[in-house]
Each structure stands twice: as structure tokens, then as C-alpha cells.
Symmetry: C2
Subunit: 326 residues, 2 copies
């Protein structure tokens, strides 16, 4: 894996050309809550398309051959990966097709199409959209951009941690949400490469704890009926990301649904940051998991917010109803 880290400078140079350098935020209140620690929040909610996913998609698309670029790419996703592939493709002049389930929210279909992708509607079962995507790969020669289990995707994702450490210097601990493991595997390669002594702590919803169980049993379990508000973390680990995680991650901890919302509320109310539930899971682990409290006191800690895409239409509808007349 040392070899993989050696590619990082090059990966980062590539990703930087398209992605935002996202701000790092701090909070005195947060520092004091964590026992006089110094906490650096990497805000991928400010990334293009609203999540870290743009980094991986942009890196992967840049690594395609000219012939692959000419034929176009395909992805299946109803979430942040869809928008990321759509915008990365458009910004590189590549055609993109996104397979979305029939029941995906209209607002997500529109956002993805707005970024320039062609939307193809599949059945609602995850296997339906995978099959439809595979068929289109066969038929049209598109390249499939997997949401996490693809080296160029997860190395690209890890530039979030790379950029954070470049800016704030050596860290003692890094908290990263884990779903499919793309952000986690990339970030652990980057951060262990830059800070050999860092401890990487993955945080997962207790209600979707397949990565937690897989990690400690050293056996890849799929995610079965995950029931969590953190919609971006319901997916299973990939074979490749799992390999990296076993080698590079120090600990996986879990958080409850209430703790996820408490962390979200801290971000919104105290730090004025709109963070989606999946994005708040890493902070929930830092604030509420007692197992790691002996590590955090006085430490220099990175926390990655993975994204900020949450449907606020209900909230604003209610607000509009209460408006005074002009």
C-alpha cells in the first residue's frame, strides 16, 4: 500500500483542477466539549455537487482513455454519486448516463439532469439498476463508474483527507464516516502516508453496522436492511475498499440514530453548517462514543463532513406558510 500512497501527489494535482478546495472550520465550543482538543472540520458539504463524491468521480473520469471518454460513462445511484459523475463528466466533455430507480425523489432526478446527465429509469430494487447499467455497458460500450469500489474513485475521494492535512499539518486522529468505504479507504491511505502515527477511526450508524462487523470478524458481510437516517451509509463495503480498510483503519465505532441527529443539530445551530445525516456521523462518533474518549483529550483531530445534500423543501414550505403578507 506504500506504493499507492506514492501516487497521491499526482492524484491530488489532478483532482485540484476540477474540485473545490473546501474550507476547514473550527469551533471553540467543540474544542472544549472534546477535552481541550483541537478539532479541524473538513467541509466537503462545500464541495461541488455538495459532497466529497465529486473528487472520486472527477479523478476516475480523468483517468479514462480517450476512447473510453468518447464512448461515455454510466453510473447507478440515487444519491450523491449520481450528481458527482454527471458534473465531472460534463466538465470534461464526456457523455454520462445515470440509472436511477423509479422511486428516486424528483428533486434528485432534476439535479442530476441539470448537471448534464441522461437519466435512465430502472425498477426500484438495487439489483434492477445494476442489471440495467450492465446491459447498457454491453450494448453501448459505456464505462461503469462504481461509487466506491474502484481505485481511482477511492483515491480521488481520499484527497479530502490529503488536503486537510496539507492545510493544518500533522493530526493525531481522523474521524471518517463509512458506508461503501470509498471515502474511508482513500482517506486512510492519504492520512497514514502523510502522518505515520495518525489513528484513523471510522464511524458507522449502529443500524447499518456491516462495516463494523466485517472489520472485527475480518469477513465481508453485506449490508442487509439497513434502517438509518444516514442514507449515504446504507451500502455494503466493496471488496477493494474492505482490503484497504483492514490494513489501514485503526478502529470502527458505531453511533445511534439520536446521536447522528444531535451531531447534525450541533453543526446547524452552533456552526451554521448544513450537513446531511451521513455527513454528521463522524462528529457523532467523536462526541458521543465513550470508547475513544481516552484518545481525544488534548489531541489534534480531523473530522470529515462527507456532504450536505438534504431535502429542505418541507422546511421551506412550512416557513412560507407562516410568512406575513406584503
Amino acid at each position: 500500500m506504500v506504493k499507492i500512497f506514492e501516487q497521491y501527489k499526482e492524484v491530488y494535482e489532478r483532482v485540484k483542477k476540477g474540485a473545490n478546495k473546501t474550507p476547514v472550520m473550527t469551533s471553540r465550543t467543540l474544542n472544549s466539549l472534546v477535552g481541550d482538543a483541537k478539532v479541524y472540520i473538513k467541509c466537503e458539504n462545500f464541495q461541488r455537487t455538495g459532497s466529497f463524491k465529486f473528487r472520486g468521480a472527477y479523478n476516475a473520469l480523468n483517468c479514462l482513455s480517450e476512447q473510453e471518454k468518447e464512448k461515455g460513462v454510466i453510473a447507478h445511484s440515487s444519491g450523491n454519486h449520481a450528481q458527482a459523475v454527471a458534473l465531472a463528466a460534463t466538465s470534461l466533455g464526456v457523455k454520462s448516463v445515470i440509472v436511477m430507480p423509479e422511486n428516486a425523489p424528483q428533486v434528485k432526478k432534476e439535479a442530476t439532469s441539470h448537471y448534464g446527465a441522461e437519466i435512465v429509469i430502472s425498477g426500484n430494487d438495487p439489483s434492477d439498476r445494476e442489471k440495467l447499467a450492465d446491459d447498457l455497458v454491453q450494448e453501448k460500450g459505456y464505462t461503469l463508474v462504481h461509487p466506491h469500489d474502484n481505485k481511482n474513485v477511492f483515491l480521488g475521494a481520499g484527497t479530502a483527507a490529503y488536503e486537510l492535512i496539507e492545510e493544518v499539518g500533522q493530526l493525531d486522529l481522523l474521524f471518517v464516516p463509512v458506508g461503501g468505504g470509498g471515502l474511508l479507504s482513500g482517506s486512510s491511505i492519504a492520512s497514514k502516508g502523510l502522518c505515520p502515527d495518525i489513528k484513523v477511526i471510522a464511524v458507522e450508524p449502529k443500524n447499518a453496522d456491516d462495516a463494523f462487523r466485517s472489520f472485527y470478524d475480518k469477513k465481508l458481510y453485506p449490508s442487509v436492511n439497513p434502517n438509518t437516517i444516514a442514507d449515504g451509509l446504507r451500502t455494503s463495503l466493496g471488496k477493494n475498499t474492505f482490503k484497504v480498510i483492514l490494513e489501514k483503519v485503526d478502529k470502527i465505532i458505531t453511533v445511534t440514530e439520536e446521536q447522528i441527529v444531535d451531531a447534525m443539530q450541533f453543526y446547524w445551530e452552533r456552526m451554521k453548517l448544513v450537513v446531511e445525516p451521513s455527513g454528521a456521523v463522524s462528529l457523532a462518533g467523536l462526541l458521543y462514543n465513550e470508547e475513544i474518549s481516552s484518545w481525544t483529550k488534548g489531541a489534534k483531530i480531523g473530522v470529515i463532513i462527507s456532504g450536505g445534500n438534504i431535502d429542505l423543501s418541507e422546511f421551506f414550505k412550512l416557513l412560507r406558510k407562516k410568512l406575513p403578507k406584503n
Copy 2:
């Protein structure tokens, strides 16, 4: 007024010691919505206590004599100024007393008391709290820190514009919300001093248009029964801020309640920023007021977000009700 600008470097040096240097955010989508302009958003929602008010309070408290500091300060406010004075006082080791109406939300009383102020409860009429504060000034020798109509307060507030222009360079236009006129008068002195050709545009809710009418009639009208969601902008201009505004501001425009919420929604959904209604008024002016659209095309534009303090307890209560069980 030129003389006043000459003090700015010193004011900024003083404010910088206690206040956050707040980030400047940009959005490709926003730039394209405003006719290929370059828009720089100054995020005072990230200021300490969640609004620009900390700048003014901190500057004013620093300018007190040792004797005044020893006796303590008093302010009457149920909003952002209360928290700002409380924290500024605490951070300088000065006692603070905040007069709040009985019906102020419990959450605001707690926040202010958390920052170290003593809370004194008055009747609900604005005149009640002013009278109680005056009585305490007489009785205890406190110094009153006015929320806007005090030179050190409004010069401190204007460091938001000063810092923005120091970071991004010359601007063609600056959009600032107007309520009592503290942020507006300070920002117009600072920005005209740094950019002689800048046009300063104040934005006010149509439902609280006392500044608009005062400005064009050149006669100070009080704010009577303002009925706007922008709770920070319901107040009347001060005598001193009005004088500066008449001299330095180029235009005052108004926006509807719906436009304020539309601008808020843009910040929350597209830029992932929690902005309070008063804070979104400046963007509403830029996006929706047609009078100024001939000025904005291709221009370099600053927009000040005044704050991000909005009660989200209902939103999170609803979210918690819908959580899956652990």
C-alpha cells in the same frame, strides 16, 4: 467623514484580536444567475455568537475607560446584540447586564446567560426595557452599549466590509442589510474608504421600509409595526447611523417576504449555509430587485450575510420523531 475612515486601520486591528476572520464564500451557480458577475459572500453567520454584532460590541467595549470597564456594561436586546455584548464583555473580563423582555425565547435567554451575562427581565414593550436599562445606568453606573447608534459600535460592525475588501480586493458593488443601520453605516464608511468608486446598496424588507422612506425623504421616520420574518431588521435607524447613511449609501432597495425566504433557501440548499432571514435580505436584493440589474452584470460584488441565528428546535424535534429505532 474622511477623517472617520482614517481610524479604520486601528479599529480593524482592535477587532481582529477578538473576532473571527470570517470566510468569504463563492458559488458558480450564483455568479451565473447574476449575469456572469463575481459575487463574494462575507459570512458573518460564522462570526462569534453567530452574527456581525460581536464586532461592534467588542470594539465598543475595548474603547471604554478602565473605570467604565470596572463598573460594567448594560444592553437591552432580545437578539444578536445581547449575545455579542455578553461574550465581548466576558472575553475582556467586564461584567455585563442584559435587559430582555419577559417574552424573549427561553433559548435566547439561556444563550446570553451562557456567554456570561446577568439577565434582567423587563416588560414586553420596547420602552419598558429601555427605561429599565436607563434606571440601571443611573443606579449602578453601568455604561449602555447601544446596538447600533454608537460610533464605536458601528465602526466595529463595518470591519466586516473592511475585511472582505482586504481579502478580495476592489469591489464594484456592496449589498448590506439595513435595520438600525449599524452594519450599513460602518460598512459604507469602510468600503468607500477602500474603494472610492464602489456603490453601496442597502436592502430592507418591504414590510419594514422605514430606512427606505427615510433615505429618499431625507427625514428620519421611525419603524412602526414592522411585520417581517427578518426579525433583526424591525428596528428604527439611529440619528447617527442615518447621518452616515445619507452621506455614504447610494441606494436603498426593498424585498418581499417571499424573496427573503427564496434567498435563504438558496443559501441553505445550494451553498450549505445556515443564514437567518435578516442575513439573507442582502442576497434577496441582489437576486430579485430589477432596479439594480443593469449594475450587476459582469460586476465584482460583495454581499454581507449578517448572521445565522435561527431557532431550529422545531425542525429537529420533527426529525427526531421520524427516526428509526436503534
